[in-house]
Amino acid sequence: DAGITQSPRHKVTETGTPVTLRCHQTENHRYMYWYRQDPGHGLRLIHYSYGVKDTDKGEVSDGYSVSRSKTEDFLLTLESATSSQTSVYFCAIRGQPGEQYFGPGTRLTVT
């Protein structure tokens, strides 16, 4: 599983509250990714990081921000959660020669 953990694994929150999801890796990988998975949409990239403090937007970045202050942790923040952000969130790291290894996911429900 490439040493990837996500926390929390499940969360229920109210509309308008901020939420932070954490991805932690133990193998010093440079590239990390956040995806969301919704029925009918597959996985969509939210943000990714190509190094400490180096991040960029994916295809569905509105309403999300990320931070990476150290190699092992990549945080995803929903600044003001909305019902449309109810989803399953996956973190991934990039291995060699280019495959990705995924964490177990976080199921987020926004009520």
Binding site: Y31, Y33, Y35, G40, H41, G42, L43, R44, L45, Y48, Y50, D54, D56, G58, E59, F90, A92, R94, G95, P97, G98, E99, Q100, Y101, F102, G103, P104, G105
Partner: protein
């Protein structure tokens, strides 16, 4: 927008039969990958095929890539009930000059495979 589109959306077969899933994409790629996802779990990488390769094997898996048609297929031979899962193709963008988009994947919506014992 989705880069990869899988076909069929769902496939139901008997144990021992072969399962074939197809993936089409729209733009140039560096490589194409296939992933498997069991219900409620994260994705697991199965196989990667580079844009200059045409066929690749791994155990009971065979992947082909036709860059002229922008399509790929995943064949699972002698399927087992344990192969029941969703299968996704994902395309990796070509390297950009700064290297920042290196490794970004775009996923299709997946094929749900059910293998009956």
């Amino acid at each position: 927008s989705q880069q990869g589109e899988e076909d069929p959306q769902a496939l139901s077969i008997q144990e021992g039969e072969n399962a074939t899933m197809n993936c089409s994409y729209k733009t140039s790629i560096n490589n194409l990958q296939w992933y498997r996802q069991n219900s409620g779990r994260g994705l697991v990488h199965l196989i990667l095929i580079r844009s200059n390769e045409r066929e690749k094997h791994s155990g009971r898996l065979r992947v082909t890539l036709d860059t002229s048609k922008k399509s790929s297929s995943l064949l699972i031979t002698a399927s087992r009930a344990a192969d029941t899962a969703s299968y996704f193709c994902a395309t990796a963008a070509p390297f950009n000059a700064g290297g920042t988009s290196y490794g970004k994947l775009t996923f299709g919506q997946g094929t749900i495979l059910t293998v009956h014992p």
